[in-house]
């Protein structure tokens, strides 16, 4: 087998391997966070001040203890529940809303498209902090409200990007052809246009997951999110600030967890994009 033929095969292999790795990691993380706490001898809120700042791999606590002597592994798992739920759900809602608005506006154009895009503009006019402040004043604190808050501040970018893509795609041959063949608008949007815009959507989704996980701790800071002692990766990272030099693992562990989750999702997204993108199909 010649090198020129082997290269694409290798590429295809690595690409699937990365996607598979991403999917597997997310499954493992999710299972770990939701089942793991039942297997641990420690819970995430029991304070033991005599035993705080224990380093990882140094004693009975595998990943060490935090500033109040609580088990880091237990806190990472419980924190992962909050962060993973918030990150993925907020992303999903934000993406769905953004794609819907963007696709309709881009495909229809005219007054409806203009109205929708001006709505996007209007929401974008409010800086995120301001939007959070506003929405937070209206909803009851809790996990669901965090998700809604973050989703509500994450759909506009996608809407803009999808609108731009769809607007330029709808004049292309395949879309025009579909129209001539009498396909319905919804069919054209779903089957022809959105799949062609999947590349930037996947990127935006990855960015949104990361943003949502970090934004959660900010919403909590505003007083509308989760409160101590409930952990999340974001608030663990925030609270570790003052121990940057004295107990760096307090920051490194949640930081690693977030990176792992986001990176896995990115690889998964990359694979997903290849699978969905019509130009790549059958190759």
């Amino acid at each position: 087998m010649s090198a020129t033929l082997a290269a694409p095969a290798f590429r295809r292999f690595t690409q699937h391997r990365l996607a598979a790795f991403g999917a597997a990691t997310i499954v493992v993380l999710t299972l770990g966070c939701f089942l793991g706490p039942f297997l641990l001898p420690f819970d995430d809120t029991t304070i033991d001040v005599m035993n705080r700042f224990a380093g990882p791999f140094s004693g009975t606590h595998i990943l060490g203890t935090d500033e109040l002597g609580r088990d880091m592994l237990a806190r990472l798992m419980m924190g992962g529940r909050v962060s993973l739920i918030v990150g993925f759900t907020a992303m999903a809602i934000g993406m769905a809303l953004g794609i819907l608005v963007g696709a309709i506006a881009g495909y229809h154009g005219g007054w409806l498209g203009a109205a929708l895009m001006r709505l996007v503009d209007a929401v974008l006019c409010f800086p995120t902090i301001f939007l959070l402040l506003a929405l937070a004043a209206l909803v009851q604190p809790g996990l669901l409200s965090i998700i809604i808050l973050i989703a509500a501040t994450s759909w506009m970018d996608v809407a803009r990007i999808v609108e731009g893509q769809v607007k330029s795609l709808r004049e292309r041959d395949f879309a025009v052809a579909a129209q001539v063949l009498g396909a319905s608008d919804a069919r054209i949007i779903i089957h022809e246009l959105v799949p062609n815009a999947v590349a930037p959507i996947v990127v935006a989704a990855t960015l949104t997951v990361a943003r949502a996980i970090l934004l959660e701790s900010y919403v909590s800071f505003l007083g509308y999110g989760i409160q101590p002692p409930v952990p999340s990766w974001g608030n663990m990272l925030n609270n570790a600030q003052i121990y940057l030099t004295s107990a760096p693992w307090l920051a490194i562990l949640p930081g690693l967890a977030i990176t792992l989750a986001v990176t896995s999702f990115n690889f998964l997204g990359d694979g997903l994009r290849d699978a969905l993108d019509p130009r790549m199909r059958g190759r």
Binding site: T45, I47, E67, G223, Q227, P228, I242, T245
Partner: protein, 547 residues
């Protein structure tokens, strides 16, 4: 001239007397350095909040006051030992020297001569009268009229003498004036005092004059050559706004900041900070008392037995040692132990979980589902709030949560940003309990009428800050009596009784008297903490660099 050198010697003694703090300062142990002949060098003071208010009569916070001390002068001020020291006045009026009449109603203040405003205009009694009148001007946004609203017939009897009558005798007014900075009458001629150019380019009689301000970043003050009390020895003072405490500490560490003031170094950094070369860390007792503020207006915390049990069940020692690294001192009173009115005979806190459980059993709080106690269908559950973004306080909350779970009491954390928690939530007593540090004194005065008199409950239409909704007839009577007692011994007895009642009733659950770590670069002399002023920047006029 003599006055200034006297001031200076007190300064050195005070530092030596500070014990632990001074022991850490190698400079104090060596031969005492002498200030330079002419102002030299600059000091960068790092602040975690931005000073923005420069009219000292308008609403401002601690960091603003830190700047005011350097631009302006009061008639007299309170020194670290709690004594009133004349500044713009020639002497502090008392019953003995006749400055205050026997009935406490007529005051006469004689002023220092030869004092000049930074723009060269001579300072006179007219400026004092203008200041007091301005505070009471209805359209002016004065910070507080407390005490001032009692003034009647303010008369200038000579360029250096002013006299007034008071509606009722008020002992705290001496302290109120020690925190009232005098402003120049001529700066307000023909302008709205709320928007006068003075407010953004102030003119004072203090040791430093206005230099410049870069909003969001820094304020620069320059030495005032005409200052009347000795000093200043620095050419320039820069107040630098550094919003994040970790960053503030880091900049102190790298030497970009010479002094960290007000919430200077958070407790987790203190141990490391003490090992830094070329940096001196002072742990200063503050006047404010950290406590759990219960809302006595309803809910389980209105029950005295519950408060007693909660107080007994808290492991104060662990909280102070672990979370606050042993820096602050546990206390039972709302007054700092340095106050002349402090009652040191209050019953000491005892950590006793069994006792707390017994107390609740006796009071009829029975354990219900999930181990949470109940009485008459009311669960022993309450929320505790503090400002978000304060990780040290959040740790303390979580420790208390665990302590109280052990006696069947459930505390839930409900923290909020400062703008929200200190709004109606606090002012109108909408909270169940709050973790807060409050300075109950005014200068060195122990009057707490606005905090604990039953007429001061805003939630019931009162005009004070009694957000606890504490109401006790004997305390009401004692507070009224105390405010009219000019004899310190008599007043001390009154205030000690007030402290005893508040401790018995547990109107607040006192945790500790705050102690803040502040850093000073080695070679900077004259730093002298003063818990009677709201900022340890009160005496930068005495600071200088070792040559």
């Amino acid at each position: 001239m003599g006055a200034s050198m006297d001031d200076f010697r007190t300064d050195r003694r005070a530092i030596l007397g500070l014990g632990a703090a001074a022991a850490l300062a190698p400079a104090a142990a060596r031969a005492q350095p002498r200030p330079p002949e002419r102002p030299r060098g600059q000091v960068v003071v790092g602040l975690s909040q931005e000073p923005t208010v420069f009219n000292p009569l308008m609403p401002g916070i601690e960091v603003d006051q830190g700047v005011w001390w350097n631009l302006f002068s009061p008639l007299w001020f309170t020194d670290p030992e709690g004594r009133l020291v004349p500044d713009l006045a020639r002497e502090v009026p008392t019953l003995e020297n006749g400055g205050i009449s026997a009935d406490g109603l007529t005051w006469t203040v004689r002023l220092r001569q030869g004092v000049r405003w930074h723009d060269g205009t001579p300072f006179t009694a007219e400026d004092v009268k203008w200041t007091l009148d301005l505070i009471n001007t209805p359209s002016f946004r004065a910070r507080s009229r407390a005490g001032h609203q009692l003034l009647r017939d303010i008369r200038v009897t000579a360029p250096d003498e002013i006299t007034w009558r008071m509606e009722t005798a008020s002992a705290p007014y001496l302290s109120i004036l020690s925190l009232t900075f005098i402003v120049p009458r001529h700066a307000f001629a023909g302008v709205d005092p709320n928007t006068a150019p003075f407010n953004t380019a102030p003119i004072g009689t203090g040791p430093f004059r206005w230099g410049s301000r870069q909003p969001g970043d820094n304020i620069t003050l320059l030495a005032a050559p005409t200052y009347h009390l000795g000093g200043p020895f620095l050419e320039r003072v820069v107040f630098k706004y550094i919003p994040d405490l970790t960053v503030l500490y880091t900049q102190f560490r790298t030497g970009q900041v010479d002094h960290t003031s007000i919430q200077g170094i958070s407790p987790p950094f203190v141990r490391e900070a003490r090992t830094l070369r070329g940096r001196v860390i002072h742990v200063n007792q503050q006047a404010s008392v950290e406590h759990i503020a219960p809302n006595l207006g309803g809910g389980p915390l209105a029950d005295k037995a519950v408060r007693q049990a909660l107080y007994m069940a808290m492991n104060k020692r662990a909280l102070i040692d672990a979370i606050y690294y042993g820096l602050p001192t546990p206390t039972e009173s709302f007054l700092p132990r340095q106050s002349w009115a402090f009652n040191d005979a209050l019953p000491a806190h005892r950590h006793d979980v069994a006792g707390a459980n017994a107390l609740l059993d006796q009071a009829g709080w029975r354990r219900g589902a999930g181990g949470v106690r109940e009485k008459d269908g009311v669960k022993l559950e309450f929320t505790n709030s503090t400002t978000t973004g304060n990780p040290v306080r959040e740790q303390a909350q979580q420790l208390l949560m665990q302590d109280w779970r052990a006696i069947g009491a459930t505390m839930r954390v409900q923290n909020m940003p400062a703008a929200v928690i200190w709004g109606e939530f606090w002012q109108q007593s909408r909270f169940q309990s709050v973790m807060v540090g409050v300075n109950f004194t005014l200068g060195s005065d122990p009057d707490v009428t606005p905090r604990f008199h039953s007429s001061a409950i805003a939630a019931r239409g009162g005009r004070g800050q009694n957000t606890y909704q504490f109401a006790n007839e004997e305390v009401d009577r004692l507070l009224v009596l105390g405010a009219t007692q000019f004899d310190q011994a008599q007043r001390r007895a009154t205030m000690q009784r007030v402290q005893a009642i508040l401790r018995e009733e547990l109107a607040i659950l006192p945790l500790f008297q705050r102690a803040d770590a502040e850093g000073v670069k080695e070679g900077l002399n004259g730093y002298r903490p003063n818990l009677n002023c709201s900022s340890n920047c009160w005496n930068i006029r005495e600071w200088f660099w070792t040559a």
